[in-house]
Amino acid sequence: MKDDSRMRWQDEFCRGALEIIPIVLAAIPIGLLWGTLAAKKGFSPLETALASGSMFGGAAQFVAIDLWRDPVPWLLVIFSVLVVNARHVLMGASLSRHLGAIAPHLRPFAMFLLVDEVWALAERRVLQRPLTWPYYLGLGLPLWASWTIASTFGALIGRSLGEPAAYGLDFAFPSLFIVILASFWRGPKTGAILAVSGAVAALSKLFIPGAWYIVLGGFAGVALAAATYKPGPADVG
């Protein structure tokens, strides 16, 4: 019996790890690039490892390293990280309803691993089956390890493989999101939500400085869904 549950654990972990592989492959050169940028701004390999390992956030780290100078404008840097990561509040709120199969004492740690790609794959998983801890760890741990190791290597060798965009690697993330978006399609109602959130996000990105566009676009779509809500038979009484 014990062997059986261990096998199921490994099975679930591997399932998560398999799903995250394309993202890991795309994240490695991007991690290398971040490490080289950090080294150029004076980060030692140790500091680079600490930053990537403790933050585990691509977009926020690129914004932070861009703002980095001597002396460190630490308040601006930390505030910018907060703004870039504001979208995670929404992601966490959405996923929080699906953590039932994960032991309560593991949930705070699960939130540490809640990067965009892990969140998106976890949301897709709960459309089919409950979200288990080994599956979630299988998503998050390989990505965390490769991100941290790659950026440390970048700082050590001080040279990246070139601009990831030249190989289209930056497009791995939108591609993943498009796949997962497809599994959320529920007909015209979804279309309306997507049209509103997409339009608001794109316009916000063009006209509003800072990284508010995800929160604004997300809110716009959610607001539409709430506004057009009609109580069903299940909600009455």
Binding site: S44, L90, M91, S96, F171, A202, Y213, A226
Partner: protein, 100 residues
């Protein structure tokens, strides 16, 4: 120098700020009873956020990204495996960026 104190403190601040955003939604929802309109709103959240993340890239970057997004979307609708769709997306944007 291996680690500068100001750098370390700023890294700690950034890590805290990041974790705070990731834990906030989860913590907040523990105090909220979900039903009816709020449930509908929360159900709409994943697709709305997914779209908001990618919209600037696919609509407002350039023709290569927009076309590649359409190709990727067709591959996704065709229910190809996840890794295949990601490879198609990456390859098509790489080719289109050179071609366009």
């Amino acid at each position: 120098m291996w680690a500068d104190p100001v750098t370390l403190l700023t890294i700690a601040g950034m890590a805290l700020a990041t974790y705070a955003t990731r834990a906030a939604g989860f913590t907040l929802m523990r105090f909220i009873k979900v039903g009816g309109r709020l449930k509908t709103a929360l159900d709409a959240m994943p697709p709305a956020i997914l779209m908001a993340v990618i919209a600037p890239t696919i609509f407002a970057t350039g023709p290569a990204e927009t076309l590649a997004a359409i190709i990727t979307m067709l591959a996704a609708i065709a229910r190809l495996p996840l890794i295949a769709v990601v490879v198609i997306g990456v390859a098509s944007v790489a080719v289109l960026r050179i071609a366009l």
